[in-house]
């Protein structure tokens, strides 16, 4: 079981993430969008969305720091175990709570605002389950790692080596198996979320427009070089009317 969860599943998820993203980019560029619902409602969105997004960005960098950088490196620059975990709890906790509050506001908004709820697909709902679960479980592991309720666990001796070993193609199954159950669940949900990622609206994160900072303001493009223009009609281009909406739901 451990071999499957920590030796096989990671690769299945990576295959799904990479393969799925390539497939989606090639065949569904038109569907590659944030699917913003700000037009319908913007009061709650203006609070919830930045809270969630900035929070999740911090969480992302926190994960990079915790999982990718070996403990020996931080020890070498003189960061003690206690100091490291104090920081991790402080910033990770703040970021995690922001993210959680943000997504709760967004889910509440999605459920209670009529038009936003109508624009929510089954795909979105499934994605929200995994996303919220990953965030909640992640906060739980943060508590465990400082020993709230039970003894503290240093994940940088179990989870992190395993994470790095996955990418070195020699998965350290034993290290991960030694971690507490909370970490196991969080990791599994996380992996499934990434497997699901390319097939949901989350793909918009992969096209974060950082190149905006460097590109010229005015974009000229020759008609000749275009490949698109007479694209096939896509699912987005459907007829108008309420009956039609009902059918699509």
């Amino acid at each position: 079981m451990n071999t499957f969860l920590w030796g096989v599943l990671p690769y299945l998820c990576i295959a799904s993430l990479v393969g799925g993203t390539i497939w989606r980019y090639r065949y569904d560029k038109f569907g590659w969008t944030t699917r913003s619902s700000q037009l319908y409602e913007s009061r709650l969105l203006r609070i919830g969305s930045p809270l969630f997004h900035f929070g999740i960005l911090l969480v992302f960098f926190g994960h990079v720091g915790g999982l990718v950088i070996p403990e020996s490196w931080t020890d070498a620059v003189g960061v003690s175990e206690g100091l490291y975990h104090f920081n991790a709890l402080l910033f990770g906790g703040i970021a995690g709570v922001c993210t959680l509050v943000g997504i709760l506001i967004l889910v509440y908004r999605r459920r209670t605002t009529g038009p936003v709820f109508m624009a929510t697909t089954k795909n979105d709902k499934l994605m929200y389950v995994f996303l919220v679960a990953a965030i909640v479980l992640g906060l739980w592991t943060t508590l465990v790692s400082v020993g709230a309720g039970s003894e503290a666990h240093n994940y940088r001796e179990t989870v992190s080596p395993w994470f790095r070993s996955v990418f070195l193609l020699r998965p350290d199954v034993a290290a991960m198996a030694a971690a507490p159950i909370q970490f196991h669940i969080h990791a599994i949900v996380g992996m499934l979320l990434f497997a699901l990622w390319p097939f949901t609206r989350l793909v918009h994160a992969f096209t974060a427009p950082l190149h905006y900072l460097f590109r010229p303001y005015i974009v000229y493009r020759s008609r000749d070089r275009q490949v698109s223009g007479s694209r096939q009609t896509r699912p987005g281009w459907s007829g108008i009317g309420t009956a039609d909406r009902d059918r699509q739901r």
């Binding site: 700000q38 037009l39 913007s42 005015i218 974009v219 007479s230 987005g236 281009w237």
Partner: protein
């Protein structure tokens, strides 16, 4: 000098009767889809009025267009690049649906299906957003013909600005009593700017300007729905398709323009007030012109960008840039260049946004003429008209805020030219000799004035629309790569795709439109009899002109019977 060609439009506002035909045909052609119910690529506003979306001209609220930094550089009014990226998760000043309006339909089914009763069944309005019953409280032209202006007229940002600037007792505020008001219509499409702020706002770089004809388009495959362009455009002419999550905008009907046909809004314009043609401009100087320090000079700066297509230097430079000779010829015959630069009667809409808009307007003389004729004056007499342009300050001030960033002298100049044309041509059409003093008073010769009259009043189809086609010798490189035999009646024409009617490879949009329109325009009967073969017995409803019920309009009642006139047995 880097010469570039730009398709431009001029609208002669004196001729606009506010019939909304342009809006309706545009909507039928382009935004008749789910997600774009509230979208009007072309809309007609009554001015004074709030416009669509409401109060879009109030840039202190909506942050559209450009502004100058302290050092005199151009900067997006909504903020620099970093600021825009930080605001990406919840666009700070995006208009809500309520600022446009909540689109609706009517529950017509009730009219048919309601059970027999004492009351007439009523088709209740249903929101197209929620599908629920709704109360209609606003639309894209709710204040049409000054409807409600006595209460809401002050909400027009320009009226508010003019009224705020009234200081002396003797000056009058803009009034909305019936006998004191003035009014005209303002049809609006995307301005296809030379310095578009929507494009500059787009984080993905999905909005682009075509090198060949300057048409500004959104690449639907690259748009990620960050919605910064909606804030960026000061004219609010980029819309968010809430179904597909992508930005959409006026396309200048590029599939039609590429084959030499005018845009849908121009073609269907009842007042024949739209002109289409080419501008040549110097792309290297655009940014500098847009950064002109004084807003009042922006109109002149924009005019300076336009190059004279008869100038040998320009011709040589254009040749270096690969602009074909027939395009140069079209540029020389361009009606929009004539109206904007030669006669100087067409003005850009809100030059103070610094986007260098390429849809120009001939300001209306009608607000002044209306006042004069209602007071019993001869509104075609030169003296009376000239005097009135000087005396009726409010319409002139209003027009100046719209078209010249407040420069009333430019507006007065243009209106005087229009007045001179009226006065001079009245003499001519009454069989009298034209008075050469009239054109002289506005700095024109009799010949130029007459030519301007030909272009503006006679306005023949071929003079209004001078559209060079996309290049045949380059056609194989065009976006529609594929076997040319696969279309219409070519031998490669295949059945519809494996998954039903619309699946499989699409017919290129330009080829399809071109062939359909050519057939329709050249055949003198209902379109289907000749085309029936190509469509294998079916009728293309998009091209059906409504004459009769041609074969194949209805599916056969039984197998083998496709004659609709055949009575069912």
């Amino acid at each position: 000098m880097r010469v570039m060609a730009q398709m431009g439009m001029v609208m002669n506002l004196d001729k606009c009767i506010g019939c909304h035909t342009c809006s309706v045909t545009c909507k039928q052609a382009w935004t008749n889809r789910a997600g774009t119910e509230y979208v009007w690529f072309n809309n007609v506003e009554t001015r004074p009025g709030q416009g669509y979306p409401r109060r879009y001209e109030d840039q202190e609220t909506w942050k559209g267009g450009w502004t100058l930094t302290n050092r005199g550089n151009l900067k997006l009014k909504a903020g620099g690049r970093v600021q825009k990226l930080l605001g990406i998760f919840a666009s700070p000043v995006q208009p809500k649906l309520a600022d446009y309006y909540e689109p609706w339909t009517y529950d017509y089914q009730t009219l048919i299906e309601a059970p027999l009763g004492d009351d007439f069944p009523v088709a209740r309005p249903k929101s197209l957003i929620t599908g629920e019953n709704t109360k209609i409280t606003w639309s894209a032209n709710w204040d049409d013909n000054l409807g409600g202006s006595s209460e809401m007229g002050e909400l027009d940002p320009i009226v508010a600005k003019l009224n705020a600037s009234v200081r002396r007792e003797s000056e009058e505020k803009v009034r909305f009593e019936l006998e004191k008001t003035f009014m005209f219509y303002l049809p609006r499409i995307c301005e296809h700017c030379l310095n578009p702020s929507c494009m500059a706002s787009c984080p993905s770089g999905a909005i682009y300007k075509r090198e060949e004809d300057g048409i500004v388009l959104v690449d639907q495959d690259r748009c990620r729905g960050w919605r910064q362009c909606i804030t960026g455009c000061p004219y609010k002419k980029i819309y968010f398709n809430h179904k597909s999550g992508k930005a959409e905008k006026c396309t200048f009907c590029y599939p039609r323009v590429e084959v030499g046909l005018p845009t849908v809004c121009s073609e269907t314009c009842v007042g024949r007030l739209r002109y289409l043609g080419l501008f040549l401009y110097d792309a290297d100087r655009v940014t500098a012109a847009a950064a002109t320090p004084d807003e009042g000079d922006l109109y002149e700066a924009q005019l300076d960008l336009l190059l004279d297509p008869s100038d040998p230097e320009v011709i040589a430079a254009a040749r270096r840039e690969g602009i074909p000779d027939d395009w140069m010829d079209a540029a020389r015959r361009s009606p929009v260049y004539a109206l904007a630069k030669t006669y100087r009667v067409a003005l850009p809409l809100h030059p103070e946004y610094r986007t260098m808009p390429m849809v120009w307007y001939v300001p209306p003389l009608s607000p002044i003429v209306d006042v004069l004729s209602s007071q019993g004056h001869d509104a075609e007499d030169r003296g009376v008209l000239f005097g009135a342009i000087e005396a009726l300050r409010i319409p002139v001030d209003y027009l100046a805020e719209l078209f010249t960033a407040g420069r009333t002298d430019i507006i007065t100049d243009v209106l005087q030219k229009l007045a001179a044309m009226r006065a001079y041509m009245r003499d001519v059409s009454l069989g009298r000799d034209g008075d050469p003093a009239i054109p002289e008073a506005v700095g024109m010769s009799e010949e130029t004035l007459y030519e301007m009259y030909r272009l503006m009043a006679i306005a023949k189809y071929a003079d209004r629309y001078v559209i060079p086609t996309a290049h045949v010798e380059r056609a194989h490189e065009l976006e529609e790569i594929g076997c040319s035999l696969d279309f219409d009646e070519g031998p490669g024409m295949y059945e519809s795709g494996p998954f039903g009617e619309a699946s499989g490879r699409p017919a290129p949009v330009a080829v399809e439109t071109f062939n359909a329109l050519k057939q329709r325009q050249t055949s003198d009967s209902a379109m289907t009899t000749t085309a029936g073969g190509g469509l294998r017995g079916r009728v293309n409803l998009l091209n059906w002109d409504g004459n009769g019920a041609p074969d194949g309009l209805f599916p056969g009642a039984s197998a083998g019977s496709s004659d609709p006139t055949e009575a069912p047995r």
